[in-house]
Symmetry: C2
Subunit: 219 residues, 2 copies
DNA sequence: TGACATTAGTATCAACTCGGTACTAATTGC
DNA sequence: GCAATTAGTACCGAGTTGATACTAATGTCA
C-alpha cells in the first residue's frame, strides 16, 4: 500500500481505568497481534465521516465525540505500510467491544506498531488537553449520570483529586447540566440524583488570562 | 500530482492586525494569485522539519513557534492537486516578507483555493485556542517587549480588552517574564520597561476545573 | 520653563472564588 | 434501632479579581 490511512483511538472509562479500543490484526502471527482500528483513506469521503464509520465498525458503538488529532508519518512500521496516517481520537460510553476488538487500560497496553504507539500517546494527551474545552467527560458517560461519576471521570483524566463542593459549584454556575427526576441507589449509602448534559450557551468569554498552563511545557 | 502536500500558515502581529503570509502563485494568471506556502510532502523527512523549512523559505525568517494542526482533504481545488494537505500554524515576530510573499491582515485576505481557506480558518482558531497553553503571544513578539505590547497581542488574539493590573498580576505570579534593564521611549508618555520571556517551570497543576469554555461550543 | 497631554505602572478596596472542615441527608446491613 | 456508607450542603478564612483612582516619567507647546 502506498496511499494514506485513517486510524481512530477510541477511549472509554472502564471502572477506575481509561481504556483504548484495539482490534486483532488477523494478517499477522504471534507478535503485533493488536492494532488501532484503521482503514485505507477513501479520497471521495470526508475524513470525519470515515473516522466515525471506522470507530463504529470496530466498537459496535457510535463515538459520542470524535476529533482529528493530526497526521503522522514517523514510525515506519505501520500495519498497512501507509505513507501518512490521519489520526482521530474519540470517546464513547463503556460497553462490551465488538468481535475481534478489546478494551485495554491505557496503563497496560499490548505492544503495537511504533506509529500506532505514537498516535495513542498523542490522542491521550489531546484528550487531557481538551477536557476543559470540549464536553469529553460528558460524552464518556451515559446520557444520565451522577455528579460523582462525572467528577470521577475528571479525576481519572486529570490524574488528581478534585474538591467536591468546588466541582459542583463550578458546574452549576456554568449551566452545563440539569437534574433529572431519577435517582440511583448503588448498594449502600444515599442514592445519587441523575443529571443530564444540557449546556446553555453564554455570550462572550469573561475573565482574565490564565498563564498557569504555560509553566508546564515552556518550549 | 497525486501525493500529499504540506502547508504552513505563518502569522504575525502587524500593528493592530493579525496578519498571514501568502505567496504569489506564479503558475496561475489573474485569479487565485495568492496561496499558502506549500510543498510536496517528502516521505524521508519529519513533518515538523519540512514545515519549518517551508516557512523559513517563504518568510525569510524562522517561525518562533510552529505546530501541526491536522490533515485536510476537503475543497478539491488545491493549487498542486494534492490528495491530502498536512497543515501547520506558526508565528514569527513581524518583519518584511521575502520576495513573492506578502503579509495580509486576516480581515482582508485575497481569494485563495477553498482548501487553503479552510486551513487558514482552522489555523487562526487553533491560535486563539492554544493561546493559554503555548507561548504564542511571546513568540509573536521580539525577544524583548513591553508589557503593553504583550497585552495588546493578547487582546488582538482574544478579541477583547483586558484589565491592565490583573494582566500584570497574573503574569508576574506565573513567573513567565523577567525585566531587562532596558526601557523604551515610544514618543510621548513615560518609557516602558522591556521584559523577556523566561518561564520557570512549576510542578503539577493546581486549581479546580474551569467549565466556562464549554459554554462556547457545546457540540 | 512650566502647564498639560500621554503613556507606564501601582495602590486600595469591595466583591467574588476557592478549598478545607464539618455538617446534614438518605440509604443498607446488622 | 444504630453503625456504616455514600450524597450533598454550609460555613468560613484565604486568596483572587477588576473597578477606580492614584503616582511616575516622558514629549509638546505655549
Amino acid at each position: 500500500m502506498r496511499g494514506n490511512s485513517i486510524e481512530t483511538v477510541l477511549c472509554t472509562a472502564h471502572g477506575r481505568h481509561l481504556a483504548v479500543l484495539l482490534v486483532r490484526d488477523e494478517s499477522k502471527k504471534a507478535r503485533d497481534k493488536w492494532s488501532l482500528p484503521w482503514a485505507a483513506l477513501d479520497e471521495s469521503a470526508a475524513l470525519d465521516d470515515q473516522a466515525a464509520r471506522s470507530a463504529n465498525k470496530a466498537a459496535g458503538a457510535r463515538a459520542t465525540w470524535l476529533v482529528q488529532i493530526g497526521a503522522f508519518a514517523e514510525g515506519k512500521r505501520h500495519p498497512g505500510k501507509a505513507e501518512l496516517s490521519v489520526a482521530f481520537v474519540g470517546v464513547t460510553p463503556h460497553r462490551a467491544a465488538a468481535k475481534n476488538a478489546k478494551w485495554f487500560p491505557v496503563a497496560d497496553l499490548p505492544p503495537v506498531a511504533p506509529r500506532h504507539r505514537a498516535i495513542i500517546d498523542a490522542a491521550l494527551a489531546q484528550l487531557r488537553d481538551r477536557l476543559d474545552r470540549a464536553p469529553i467527560a460528558f460524552r464518556l458517560l451515559p446520557a444520565n449520570f451522577t455528579l460523582g461519576e462525572l467528577q470521577a471521570v475528571y479525576e481519572l483524566l486529570l490524574g488528581r483529586r478534585l474538591h467536591k463542593a468546588s466541582f459542583r459549584r463550578s458546574l452549576t454556575a456554568a449551566f452545563l447540566v440539569e437534574p433529572t427526576d431519577e435517582w440511583r441507589s448503588e448498594g449502600r449509602g444515599r442514592p445519587a440524583q441523575l443529571f443530564r448534559y444540557a449546556p446553555r450557551k453564554s455570550r462572550g468569554r469573561r475573565g482574565g488570562v490564565r498563564f498557569e498552563a504555560l509553566r508546564e511545557s515552556p518550549a
